[in-house]
């Protein structure tokens, strides 16, 4: 493992940006590990969440933004709930995912494909069209038949329709307005939890 030069390799601008965009006091993390202890996806992470917090504290931008964990986080908020220092850890993970996306990094390509496809579907129909999304995702993933086995079960339970549902009333227009508002937003840095990657 490489030696980190704590002075030279520390990206202060990155640390400030994470703190600003997440609104969290990152210095208050004392590395108790409770976020990792409660994390439901830790077994799939390349870096456990408490170490991501540590890397952010040390300004290790490259390692954080290119890790897989931030894309695998399910935003279940167990880490946020458990944190003894009131840090919204899940929000920090969310902000990091946004930053990675802006930096053109997405090591978990399928997560990005799925969210992009989901958003496109909502933009088009006013709500998600499951069958269409499934088809698009199956093609993009390069493994078109991997989830095919689920199809019949979902069909018989009425979970897959052949035509998109339309939201009632002005629903479709209202959703379109949300997208338009996001497209025409004036602030440079997108606020967290906008539709950019639909988390």
């Amino acid at each position: 493992m490489q030696t980190i030069n704590l002075a030279a390799d520390c990206d202060q601008a990155f640390m400030d940006a994470v703190a600003r965009e997440s609104g969290q006091d990152l210095k208050s993390c004392y590395q108790c590990g409770n976020c990792t202890a409660g994390c439901a996806y830790s077994q799939d992470y390349d870096i456990p969440v408490h170490q991501i917090m540590r890397l952010v504290q040390l300004g290790q931008k490259e390692r954080v933004l290119s890790c897989r964990s931030i894309w695998l986080c399910a935003t279940c908020q167990a880490c946020t709930t458990r944190c003894p220092n009131n840090i919204e850890v899940a929000t920090v993970m969310d902000v990091l995912r946004h930053m990675a996306r802006r930096a053109g990094k997405a090591p978990e390509r399928l997560v990005k494909s799925f969210t992009d496809g989901f958003l496109a579907s909502v933009a088009r129909h006013g709500r998600v069209f499951e069958a269409g999304l499934a088809a698009v995702f199956a093609l993009k993933s390069g493994k078109p038949l991997q989830d095919a086995g689920l199809g019949p079960a979902m069909l018989t339970r009425g979970k897959l329709a052949f035509l998109p549902h339309q939201p009632g009333g002005r629903g479709k227009e209202e959703v379109a307005e949300i997208f338009a508002r996001f497209e025409n937003r004036t602030d440079a840095a997108p606020a967290k939890k906008t539709g950019e990657d639909a988390q």
Binding site: G33, I47, P48
Partner: protein, 660 residues
């Protein structure tokens, strides 16, 4: 009048941002000032000598020192002034350090403000009058609130020094938390064996009066002459007759009373003695569970008692104690573990607090010293300890370290391995704080000699599975989730202030922090004093503390009390309210507003009334002075004319600077 001024550099503290020489030069132009100088350290011996010499040489009538806060050195300079033959109140202090030098870097404006403050001080000094302290008698008795190890130690030390002691304890026996412990760290000696002799001493010492099941209801008076009302809750047993034989306890039919002394791990009877070493060893009836008191039936204990001590009609009693000093030693409460739902505390019987576990380890405890799981009575083979439950946790409003949990956890882990040699013990911790004498070695012994597994990380959840409790945490050193299937989980619960601590603080007129711990007068140099003269602190009421620290502080508080009450008379502060009887209209407003009850209405021969200040009770707060509609009450050394002299000086400066 001849006034001298000394402006202090305080090394660089003041001189770095204030031109002290310019301040001294400006002071020479002020009315009545015949001498002004600057000095590197006015408080130093040469500084004081210069001051004294100048007073004598130039026959000064008063002195102004411009330096630090009067809270630091007012007394130093008053004494110096007195040594040079002046009255100690012919002295004024201008605070140009905390109020000027430390709060701004603007040298020019700092110098101006320092000059202004000196001018105000000079103007006040011109109308100051000599004051003389009066002396008053003191009660050579001390009241100690709380009969834990700190209260007991303070009581024994005070009694040893010849004072009469009144010890007020909320429970029916003294001993506090220490009497519940099985062993103490780092020596692993029997807790009640070392505490027992002290409890016996306190119970038998003729100088010590014990008020059991009692609470302080009201405190009035002042240092040397406090008057404390103590409510003695009824025990329903005449303790002058009770011999502590325990016959009542054996026959009591109400046998399902949660045993508070055993941390509710077991059940006890409605009448009884909490533990074998209880002092005084007397029976008490728990009114909530007594069949005779709740339902009017039963009366078995009354029939069985060989000395006829039971009396269901006994009532609470309020006694008044006159004492010269008070020591607060109210100890601590433990964090309510049920707030940690993720650990199943309160839901799973095999998740217990550290103090409950301590009772399970104790030979006089509910399991006679055999560790048994509360759920099925089986001997646990895997015990997991979770540290920092309710400590260092901002989300629970407990950001502070509870000081001694690391150590008792190591002790309990060692005892577990001692009691059950084929058991495994795990400790989930964040940091090990073992900074006492022999403490670090003790924790190392737990790991190296006793094979206790220390895991660095917090625990996120405890859940039952296949008859075990799965403890899911992290090993941050590995960077991995870990879990332990446990038979018993012990939560190292943190410390909080004793129940009712803020209320007692209000009665004693002492300060307490945001968590209810009592505030010492100075964190380093006055650790056992409070801001109320005559009230002292001992033990964990001031902050989380282990036994050695509590005992040390108790002895320190006793030393302070003994020094205070070694004098036959105390001097009263002459800076108190004074009534101009010819002006007073007898409206009585001052009497009603005085927070200390220091004002009485006196009837004259013609039947009219006048206010009168009880000099020893008055604390010099000045509320009466601003309340009086005819300005008949003046606070000495802070009279209207003295304060107006300062205000006028300030206004003149304002006029001068705005005109130019």
């Amino acid at each position: 009048m001849r006034i001298g001024v000394m402006v202090c550099h305080c090394g660089n503290n003041i001189a770095a941002t204030v031109d002290v020489e310019a301040v001294a030069a400006a002071a020479r132009e002020f009315p009545d000032v015949v001498y002004a100088t600057d000095h590197m350290y006015a408080c130093s011996d040469p500084g004081q000598k210069t001051l004294e010499q100048t007073i004598r040489d130039l026959k000064l009538d008063g002195v102004v020192v411009a330096s630090c806060s009067p809270r630091m050195h007012e007394l130093t300079f008053r004494r110096a002034v007195e040594r040079a033959g002046l009255n100690r109140y012919m002295f004024e202090m201008a605070n140009i350090r905390e109020h000027v030098a430390w709060i701004s870097l603007d040298r020019k404006r700092n110098t101006q403000k320092a000059t202004d403050l000196v001018r105000m001080a000079v103007e006040k000094l011109r109308v100051d009058r000599p004051l003389t302290a009066k002396s008053f008698d003191v009660q050579k008795r001390v009241l100690i609130v709380g009969g834990g190890v700190a209260g007991i130690q303070a009581a024994l030390d005070c009694a040893d020094g010849g004072l009469d002691v009144v010890l007020v304890e909320r429970k029916s026996s003294i001993g506090g938390i220490m009497s519940k412990l099985d062993k103490t760290f780092p020596t692993v000696d029997c807790s009640v064996c070392v505490l027992g002799p002290k409890m016996v001493d306190a119970g038998q010492n003729p100088r010590i009066t014990l008020h059991m099941l009692s609470e302080v209801e009201e405190v009035s008076g002042y240092v040397g002459n406090f008057e404390v009302k103590v409510r003695k809750h009824t025990t329903y047993v005449d303790w002058t007759k009770c011999t502590g034989c325990g016959a009542c306890e054996e026959k009591c039919p109400s046998r399902k009373v949660p045993d508070a002394f055993n941390e509710n791990v077991s059940l006890t009877t409605a009448i009884g003695i909490p533990f074998p070493q209880a002092t005084p060893k007397r029976a008490t009836i728990n009114a909530e569970h007594c069949l005779r008191l709740t339902k009017g039936k039963c009366g078995v204990c009354e029939k069985i008692c060989p000395t006829g001590a039971i009396d269901y009609d006994l009532k609470d009693e309020v006694v008044t104690e006159k004492v010269g000093a008070i020591i607060a030693a109210t100890g601590l409460n433990l964090f309510d573990h049920r707030k940690c739902g993720e650990y199943g505390a309160g839901r799973y019987p095999d998740v217990v607090t550290s103090l409950a576990y301590e009772r399970m380890l104790s030979a006089s405890g509910p399991t006679a010293g055999h560790i048994k799981r509360p759920s099925d009575g089986a001997e646990p083979k895997t015990v997991v300890f979770i540290a920092c439950v309710g400590s260092r946790d901002r989300s629970l409003g407990r950001p502070y370290c509870s000081n001694f949990c690391c150590m008792y956890t190591a002790k309990q882990a060692i005892l577990t391995r001692d009691h059950i040699p084929d058991s495994k013990a795990y400790v989930f911790y964040m940091d090990i704080r073992a900074n006492g004498k022999g403490y670090e070695e003790f924790v190392r012994r737990a790991q190296e000699e006793y094979g206790v597994e220390y895991v660095r990380g917090r625990v996120a959840q405890v859940y039952p599975k296949d008859g075990k409790l799965i403890v899911r945490g992290t090993d941050t050193l590995l960077g991995q989730q870990v879990e332990v299937p446990a038979d018993l989980v012990v939560l190292a619960v943190g410390v909080e202030a004793a129940k009712g601590a803020p209320e007692l603080a209000e009665k004693l007129r002492i300060s307490y922090d945001a968590y209810g711990f009592f505030m010492e007068s100075h964190p380093k140099l006055r650790p056992v004093e409070t801001n109320t003269v005559g009230v002292f602190l001992a033990g964990a009421c001031q902050g989380p503390k282990d036994i050695p620290a509590s005992v040390a502080q108790a002895s320190a508080a006793a030393g302070k009390v003994l020094a205070l009450l070694s004098k036959d008379k105390l001097e009263s502060d002459p800076q108190i309210a004074q009534v101009a009887t010819n002006r007073c209209i007898g409206c009585g407003k001052c009497e009603r507003t005085c927070p200390f009850g220091a004002i009485r209405m006196r009837e004259l021969r013609d039947g009219s009334k006048r206010a009168e200040v009880v000099e020893t009770v008055c604390q010099g707060c000045g509320i009466c002075s601003v309340t009086c509609p005819v300005r008949a009450i003046q606070l000495q050394h802070f009279t209207d004319s003295q304060l107006l002299a300062e205000v006028n000086a300030l206004c003149r400066i304002w006029d001068e600077t705005t005109e130019s």
